[in-house]
């Protein structure tokens, strides 16, 4: 190792230290905790081997939560990846005026806290007396009691989260699309290629490096963002219909104080995400275009 490389490693050190302290150490500790029965307050931890993992596999709630997790991923991908992609394309390439207005307007909610957003939407979307319900009432449409209805509850909670996430994803994708060579688009336009085709054949492949980033961020970060509205509005209910793997791990640890169970669930969740990432690398990454 020569001097130069040592210098580089030294430069890496601060971020590595932070990573070790806040990511790897908690991860290792979670693995450790997943073999114990502990209530987080008591001074003793009881070693139980793989019992926590066995409990999770036997528990029907785990499967409900797992299915919910995938529904969340599906809805989040639609709301926070596909739709912002299309919006970014339309605003950058198709629209001629008011571009800056749209950019600002769509990005603005991203700076507001999700806690505030959740409380705001609880009020706005109150199915009995909220403003949305009142307006729908004029057309004789009644709102479902979404906080207590399976299915609806996930969709609405995703909507609240996307209010926050949408803007950031949109801006990132917009920048990527903006970076696509204008000559290509102009040439396609001269040949009267329809906008849909420009998007599919030119924009999508050329911005795919950013696209894949947003895709992963949507899934990984989106599920974590979901935590806030779930915690504030439904606490995972009704009967776990709005819980997902991440919220459920929190619920087990900080509501029921089953720390070991929760740690085991987190580890299993991580494994599932790991497999998803592997699949992504194997099948999606190949088609991605990197400029450099």
């Amino acid at each position: 190792m020569n001097r130069e490389t040592i210098k580089f490693y030294l430069l890496l050190l601060p971020s590595l230290a932070i990573f070790l302290l806040f990511v790897f150490w908690p991860f290792a500790y979670s693995v450790y905790l997943s073999f114990f029965d502990w209530n987080m307050i008591s001074p003793e931890k009881k070693f139980v081997g793989l019992q926590n993992y066995i409990d999770i596999i036997k528990d029907p709630i785990s499967y409900k939560v797992l299915v919910n997790t995938f529904i969340y991923i599906g809805v989040l991908l639609l709301m926070n990846c596909i739709i912002p992609y299309i919006f970014a394309f339309v605003i950058d390439v198709v629209l001629k005026r008011f571009k800056n207005f749209y950019k600002t307007a769509l990005f603005l909610p991203a700076v507001i806290s999700l806690v505030v957003g959740s409380i705001l939407f609880t009020w706005l979307l109150n199915p009995v007396s909220g403003p949305v319900a009142i307006i729908l009432g004029w057309f004789d449409v009644s709102m479902p009691m979404w906080t207590k209805t399976d299915g609806w509850v996930i969709v609405i909670l995703c909507l609240i989260t996307s209010w926050k996430v949408f803007g950031y994803n949109f801006i990132v994708l917009y920048a990527a699309i903006n970076g696509v060579d204008r000559e290509l688009i102009e040439a396609a336009r001269l040949d009267r290629v329809p906008a849909r085709k420009i998007f599919m054949k030119i924009i999508l492949p050329l911005s795919s490096a950013t696209g894949i980033y947003v895709l992963i961020i949507t899934v990984v970060q989106g599920l974590q963002y979901m935590f806030t509205p779930i915690k504030i509005i439904t606490q995972g209910g009704p009967n776990y219909a709005s819980s997902n793997a991440i919220y459920h791990a929190f619920h087990e640890a900080f509501v029921l104080y089953r720390t070991g169970h929760s740690a085991a669930l987190s580890i299993l969740t991580m494994l599932i995400f790991f497999v998803l990432l592997l699949l992504e690398f194997k099948f999606v990454e190949k088609g991605v275009y990197y400029e450099n």
Partner: protein, 429 residues
């Protein structure tokens, strides 16, 4: 990088500040006064200012004791965790607030002294202080299952029925509200039929507080000799009365707590069953003629209303600390202090002689009619049942799960309660 550095600096400063505030609270004798710590959970919005005010006044009038109030974030659970850490290092505060759900846990895991023992030893004049000033059923709240008095109730709340008099009048009903649950059901139906608005909402937070009030008031018991027994004939009947309002009559609302209370305040629900702690929120925000009345009863049966809140327990180890703790505790339970506490928090006075005393709450209650609904039903207050043992919280959760299933109509009351009771008893074994 610059931002990162400034962020780290802020964090560092925060840490430093936390350390220095800790070292301020040195225990032991300083300047001749015995210094004790009082641990509470009352954040600024939850009566924290009253805590500080009471401590300040006590310190001014006492020549022997100096109290330092220490706020514990994250409510009673947070306080328990901090107490654990403190105990691990061999120390303990003098006086702590213990939430009802942690009562048994506290008793089994922490060294504490019954206030009565300290009184018997050092303060013969106060021997009958508790007997004279507290209702026996209120004192019972702070007893363990084997009848040991480990603390004294301090923050108390009970469920009451809030009514929208305008809506009741509009539906041609008695504007003083229903007296019984049976009556409440027909009231709700009439309101739905006559006005199109919802008749009733019962709070649905993540606990079984209101459920217990409903079932036990009909003669059921959540727990008998350490076994769940809520799926008795009476329990099922009571739950059915409530569930039918939602699933059959469609006269009651099944919705989250915030949205439910909000709908009541907006005038879309005529009656709401929730804690007296919601009083100021409801009183300040509703634009109609609002009132609070006693919790409804079942025809011919006594009410049993679980108490919310916490008790005060003495964890001081040394004698002088224990003595000081009682002196401060006695001050907190004086009529004036309790009155102050009620005004600052919305809790019900735990002791007697406050409601009608001139220096107590006489004038306050005259101005805040709604508070009377809770102060006048104190004789019906019972301990809030927490399922025993390590699996208790899981049992609690099963009760919540079945509530969602029943109110969604996916399972019948009888089937749901019986199945849950069985599962809980399997857990508690």
């Amino acid at each position: 990088m610059k931002r990162f550095i400034s962020l780290m600096l802020v964090l560092l400063l925060g840490l430093l500040a936390a350390c220095s505030s800790d070292s301020d609270e040195v225990k032991g004798k300083g300047k001749g006064k015995t210094k004790i710590e009082y641990w509470h959970v009352n954040a600024e919005t939850l009566g924290g200012k009253t805590v500080e005010e009471l401590v300040k006044r006590f310190n001014e009038q006492s020549d022997t004791v100096e109290v330092v109030a220490k706020f514990n974030p994250d409510m009673y659970k947070g306080l328990m965790q901090n107490l654990q850490a403190e105990a691990a290092s061999g120390k303990a505060p003098a006086l702590v607030q213990v939430g009802w759900s942690f009562k048994e846990y506290f008793n089994e895991n922490f060294a504490h002294t019954s206030p009565q023992d300290i009184i018997d030893k050092h303060f013969p004049d106060d021997k009958t202080f508790f007997k004279d000033n507290f209702l026996p059923n209120v004192l019972e709240l702070a007893q363990t299952k084997d009848g040991k008095q480990i603390g004294i109730p301090y923050s108390l709340s009970s469920p009451v029925l809030y009514i929208n008099r305008d809506l009741l009048k509009q539906a041609g009903l008695d504007e003083n509200g229903p007296k019984t649950w049976e009556e409440l059901k027909t009231f709700a139906k009439t309101i739905k039929d006559k006005t199109g608005k919802y008749g009733f909402y019962m709070q649905e937070p993540a606990d079984n507080w209101a459920t217990q009030a409903l079932l036990e008031s009909n003669g059921a018991r959540m727990l008998t000799d350490g076994k769940a027994t809520f799926a008795s004939k009476e329990g099922i009947a009571a739950y059915e009365l409530y569930a039918d309002m939602i699933t059959k009559d469609k006269s009651a609302l099944h919705i989250g707590w915030d949205q439910g209370i909000q709908s009541f305040i907006d005038g879309n629900v005529a009656m709401a069953y929730t804690t007296i702690a919601q009083r100021s929120n409801i009183q300040d925000n509703s634009k109609f003629n609002v009132a609070a009345v006693n919790s409804p009863v079942f025809e011919g049966k006594p009410v049993r209303l679980p108490a919310g809140g916490s008790m005060l327990a003495i964890t001081a180890k040394e004698e002088d600390q224990q003595k000081a703790a009682w002196e401060f505790m006695k001050y907190l339970y004086s009529v004036e202090s309790v009155a102050e506490w009620t005004k600052g928090t919305g809790y019900v006075p735990p002791r007697e002689g406050v409601a009608d005393a001139e220096e107590g709450l006489k004038q306050y209650l005259a101005e805040n009619e709604m508070m009377k609904a809770a102060t006048s039903q104190m004789d019906g207050v019972v301990p809030w049942v927490s399922f025993p043992g390590k699996q208790g919280l899981q049992a609690e959760q099963l009760m919540l799960d079945v509530r969602d299933q029943i109110l969604n109509g996916s399972v019948s009351v009888e089937e749901g309660l019986k199945k849950t009771e069985e599962e809980i008893n399997k857990l508690l074994k």
